[in-house]
Amino acid sequence: MIRSLLGSSGGTGFSLTLAALAVTAALLVATLAGVGPSGFLVNIIGQLAAFALLALALDLIWGYLGILSLGHGLFFAIGGYVMAMHLLMHSFETTGTVPDFMQFMGWKEFPAYWAGLGVFPYALAVALVLAGVVALVTGWVSFRSRVGGVYFAIITQALVYAAMLLMFRNDTGFGGNNGMTGFSVIFGLRMGTETASAVLALASVVVLALGLVATRALVSGRLGRLMLATRDDEVRLRSLGYDTIVLKTGVWVVSALLAAIAGMLYVPQVGIVNPRILSPELSLEIAVWVAIGGRGHLVGAVIGAVLVNALKFWLSFAAPDVWPFILSALIVLVVLVFPNGLLDLSRGFGALKARMRREGVASLDPRRAGP
């Protein structure tokens, strides 16, 4: 089952995943009609879809370019914060009630740079441009100076950490420690109603499906091959005349945009954004989802994100204290025993033994190998 989901050609796994997403979408439509799953479950589904999109974004660069970012929470947060600003503004404009946030900030009216954020297309554009520019600058500067591997991973982590410290300050102007909350209206719908939850979840699932189709189109084409070539041997590719810096920066920006969109979907569903979205732990966890699902075939990232987060949701009700232990055990298991995540699991123990014999060789299948 899992094996076919992840099937090496990607074909079956990909179609099955799309089918699953279609079924989920249908269920959500049913909720809209008043017969589907409850509001709580719908909300969980929506959050999982947002996380899956985030994982997809990371897999694009980690799985296909071999670049691990431990700071993708930065782009997720850019989307999230801009969305929160949009919702506050939009709620204010439609209901006229001054949000708590403004009282907390001691504002009489929104500062000038908030102007227009109440209009969704503009907010979307702002989030994408912002995430794109940040990605362009960080990517270009790092890749140009050949910063890669562990260095890049830690520098991105430092970036997200610095951003978190910055946002924790009250005078940065984004709510500081408390962040932004108290969104009451989205697209004219009252937040918190079953309809709003279902619409949001549906949007997340649809965007995830679109994201999956788009990234698959990207990686299975010519650029996808060049991405794999970059991952395998960048110096080789460069001395064939390719500008790998442009390639890497481009894909990095695309990945950042996906993460920002995920953030825009996520924040309305949890109803709050605060600096903890920038915590290094969240960014590390994204990598864990991808690793557990298996790097370098998109579907794996989606499945990994959904499974790990579903488990986390469940455990944080059932036994909150054991979650960190389970998570660390999962990571060690994946790293030591199943370097290709669920794919290895599906391949069974025969292949496992073969890998043990070839200790040091990272993986079974060169298409999925990588640092």
């Binding site: 590719l237 001395s239 064939l240 005349g241 390719y242 500008d243 790998t244 060169p366 298409r367």
Partner: protein
Amino acid sequence: MSALLIDDISVEFGRFRAIDRLSLAIDYGEIRGVIGPNGAGKTTVLDVVSGITRPKAGRVVLDGGLEITRASETLIARSGVRRKFQKPSVFDALTAAENVAVGVEGRLRRTAPAAEVRRRALDLLDAVGLADEADRQAGEFSHGQKQWLEIAMVLGGDPKVLLLDEPVAGLSDEETEKTAALVRSLKRPDRAIVVVEHDMGFVETIADRVTVLHEGRTLFEGSMAGARADARVIEVYLGR
């Protein structure tokens, strides 16, 4: 005019001087053999020419135009320099045909229709004797196959200056002969070829002239026969 002019370059790694005021000129239509003991600096010279290592002093001029010491690897490659690395470097995740296609295209932007690129790639694979393996993944190839695949890949760019670092290392005698024939067939009036190799027989059969490096300097330059007779070359490299 020389295809490649290496003018008084020095390379240092920390306090260690790997190349010491080396000069070298290679002409179009020429196959130059570069030999020398381990650590003589042969690979380092190729690193400088392909832009991977920056010399501390001196310059390298391509075709009387491009100043290589200031150009990026990408620009150097686009100006017609191709290099096969000492350790075979192919893209394990791609098939042989895809590998060569990457070599043929040489740009992020698509420059030719996919079908045409593939046809050219298959031609090149044919030339290096890998036509039957076109759709196998390069990661599964043997050492020798990787060597040839990499040669096909660099030939895809139709290089003006071709640098081959130990193309027959680890190959059987028969494979070596095949490779020698291949390299000879690559000789063209508008192309300069530099072959770094330890295998004397191989160098003798292909090279027009040889340069013997030792401790980062030129020890000898001339015919292979001349090198064999040179007392200092015998002393440091060939052995008595």
